[in-house]
Amino acid sequence: MNTWRTIRLVIGRDLRARRKAAATVTAITLILAVGGIVIAALVTEGRAAALSGEEADRVLASLGVIILFMALVTTGGVIAEGVVEEKRSRVVEVVLGAVAPRHLLMGKAAAIGLIGLAEVLLMVGAVIAAGLAVDAFPLPQATAGTLTAVVGWFLLGYAFYAAMYGAAGALVAPHENSGSATFPVTLVLIVGYFVGLSVRPSGNLLVLVLSLLPPTAPLTMPLRIAYGDASAWQVALSVVLTMVAAYGMIRLGARLYAGALMRGGRVSWRDAWRNAAHLG
C-alpha cells in the first residue's frame, strides 16, 4: 500500500486525538495575548513607545527565541508522551502489524509538528499584535524577516529534534514518565536557549560556532540574524548543516524508535540501536 496514505492516516488520528489539548493551548495563548496587549496599552497609556527598526528586530528576535525554545520543548514532550502512551496501552503491537515503525513515527511527528507550527504562528502573531497595539515597532519592514526566521527555524529545529524525542519516548518503560528519557535531548535545547539569549552584537567565536552547528543553530541564529551579525553565507551554512543533520537525526531517531518500541521495560540507547537492525 501507499506509504503516504498510511502516514496521512496516522497524522489524521494523532491530530484528532489531540484536538482538545490543542484547543485548550490555543485558548490560553489567546487569553494571555489579549491580556498582554491590554496591560501593555495601560502601562504605556497610549503613548507610542516606538522602537527603531533595529531595536524592534532585537526585541522580536529575543521573544522569538523564547517562543522557539518553548515550542520545541513542548512539542518534543508531546511526541515522547504520545509514543509512551502507545507503548503503555500496548496498542503499538497491533499498529506495527500494519504500519512500519518509521512511518508511525513520521505521522506522529508531522501531526504534532502541525499543531506546534500553529501555536508558533499564533504566538508570533500575538507578539506582533501586542507590539502594534502599543505602537512599539513599525510594520512590516522590521518584522517580516524576524517572523520568517522564527517560523523557519522552528521547522528546522523541529525536524532536528522531533525524531529524537520520539526515540526517547520509545526507550521509556511503559509505567514510567517520559521526562527522564527526554531530559538529555531537552538539555541540548536548554544550552542553545541560554546561548541564544546571551548573544550580543559582535559576539565571540563560541557563539559563532554554536550558531552554525545544528543542535544549537535553531536557537542562536535568529538573534544573530536580528543583530545583523550573521553574514549571508553563515546563515546559508547553518541552514544547510541543520537540514543535513536533521535528515541524519530522523534516520537515527527512527531506528532507535523501532528498536525500542517492542521491548518491555526500560531500554538503553545501545540496545535500541542494536535491536533495530531488522526493522525499517
Partner: protein
C-alpha cells in the same frame, strides 16, 4: 493448500532460547491450534509473522514468498498483550485499523458496523474503548483483527479470559472464517477447546515443534489406549491379569483401564467375556491433553 510456512526459526533473548529450529505450516481454510507450555516460543513465533522479532535464523513465507509489508496488510493479528487506543471510540477505532489495512473509508465503515453487530457490540460503537468491560474490549480487539477480512488470522490466546458463552461464540466466528477460506492460527492453553475446534495442531516445546498434524492422527499415533468396559459381575480381578494394563478407575462393574503397550484385542475381549457378561466395551485413544503432556514430556 499451503499458505503460511515458518521454516527453521531461531531466536535467543540473551541466554533464553525462544525458538530453536521451529518449523510448521498453515494451509488455506485451515484452523491450526498452536500449543505449548508457557515460554515455549509461541508468542515469539507469532510475532515473527508480523516482523516484530529480529530472528537469528529462519524464514517466514506466505504463498512461497517472503512476507513484506504489502502482504502483511492482508493478515489480521491479535497479540497476547491486548492493546487498543483507550480514548478512541469503538467504531472509529475499528474503522481506523481497517483503513490502515488498505480499506477505503466507506468500505471499512460498512465492515466495522457489520462486525460489531455480529459481536453484539452494535450499541456500544460510540463508547470509548476504556469504558468497556474487559470482555467487550476483547471483542473490539477481535474486530480490529478481522475488519479487513484477512487471509491469515493470527490470534495469541484468543480464548483466555472469556466466559464459556463468549468462548463458544468466538469458536463459531473462527470456524466461519476458516470455512470461508481464511487460514487461522491461534495459540491456546484450553486443550478441550482446541480439540473441539481444530483439525490440526502444532505443539511446541522449548522453541521446537515436537508434534504436528491432525488431532485424530496424533491421538491415534499414541501407543496408549483407554478401555472402558462394563462386565456384569466381573469385578476387577480379570483386568489385573492383562499385561501393561492399569486400572484407572472403577465404579461398580464399570472399569476404565489404561493400556500402555501393544495388546491383543481378541484376547482382551475373551478375558472380559470369561469374567462375566460384557455390556459395554470401548477402546479410545488418549485425548489431546494427554497427547500434549506426552509430547512436552510432563
Amino acid at each position: 493448500m499451503e499458505m503460511l510456512r515458518l521454516e527453521g526459526l531461531a531466536k535467543r533473548f540473551g541466554d533464553v532460547v525462544a525458538l530453536d529450529d521451529c518449523s510448521f505450516q498453515v494451509g488455506r481454510g485451515e484452523m491450526v491450534g498452536f500449543l505449548g507450555p508457557n515460554g515455549a516460543g509461541k508468542t515469539t513465533a507469532m510475532r515473527s509473522i508480523f516482523g516484530l522479532v529480529a530472528l537469528d535464523r529462519g524464514s517466514v513465507d506466505w504463498q512461497d514468498s517472503p512476507i513484506d509489508r504489502a502482504v502483511r496488510l492482508r493478515f489480521g493479528y491479535m497479540p497476547e498483550e491486548r492493546g487498543l487506543y483507550p480514548r478512541m471510540r469503538v467504531l472509529e477505532q475499528v474503522v481506523y485499523f481497517g483503513r490502515l489495512h488498505g480499506m477505503a473509508r466507506a468500505q471499512a465503515s460498512t465492515a466495522a458496523h457489520r462486525l460489531l453487530s455480529d459481536l453484539d457490540l452494535a450499541e456500544r460503537w460510540q463508547d470509548r474503548v476504556q469504558d468497556l468491560s474487559h470482555g467487550n474490549q476483547q471483542r473490539v480487539q477481535l474486530a480490529v483483527a478481522m475488519v479487513h477480512s484477512p487471509e491469515l488470522l493470527v490470534l495469541d490466546e484468543p480464548f483466555s479470559g472469556l466466559d464459556p458463552v463468549a468462548a463458544a461464540r468466538l469458536a463459531e466466528t473462527l470456524a466461519e472464517r476458516a470455512r470461508a477460506g481464511t487460514a487461522v492460527l491461534f495459540s491456546s492453553h484450553q486443550l478441550d477447546v482446541v480439540e473441539h475446534l481444530c483439525e490440526d495442531v502444532v505443539i511446541v516445546n522449548r522453541g521446537r515443534v515436537v508434534l504436528a498434524g491432525r488431532v485424530e492422527d496424533l491421538r491415534a499415533a499414541s501407543r496408549r489406549r483407554y478401555l472402558e468396559v462394563v462386565v456384569r459381575g466381573g469385578g476387577t480381578g480379570w483386568a489385573q491379569s492383562v499385561r501393561d494394563a492399569t486400572l484407572v478407575s472403577h465404579n461398580g462393574d464399570r472399569l476404565r483401564l489404561r493400556l500402555d503397550g501393544p495388546f491383543d484385542l481378541t484376547d482382551l475381549v475373551s478375558r472380559a467375556a470369561r469374567a462375566g457378561e460384557v455390556q459395554e466395551f470401548s477402546l479410545t485413544p488418549p485425548d489431546l491433553s494427554e497427547v500434549f503432556m506426552e509430547a512436552v514430556g510432563r
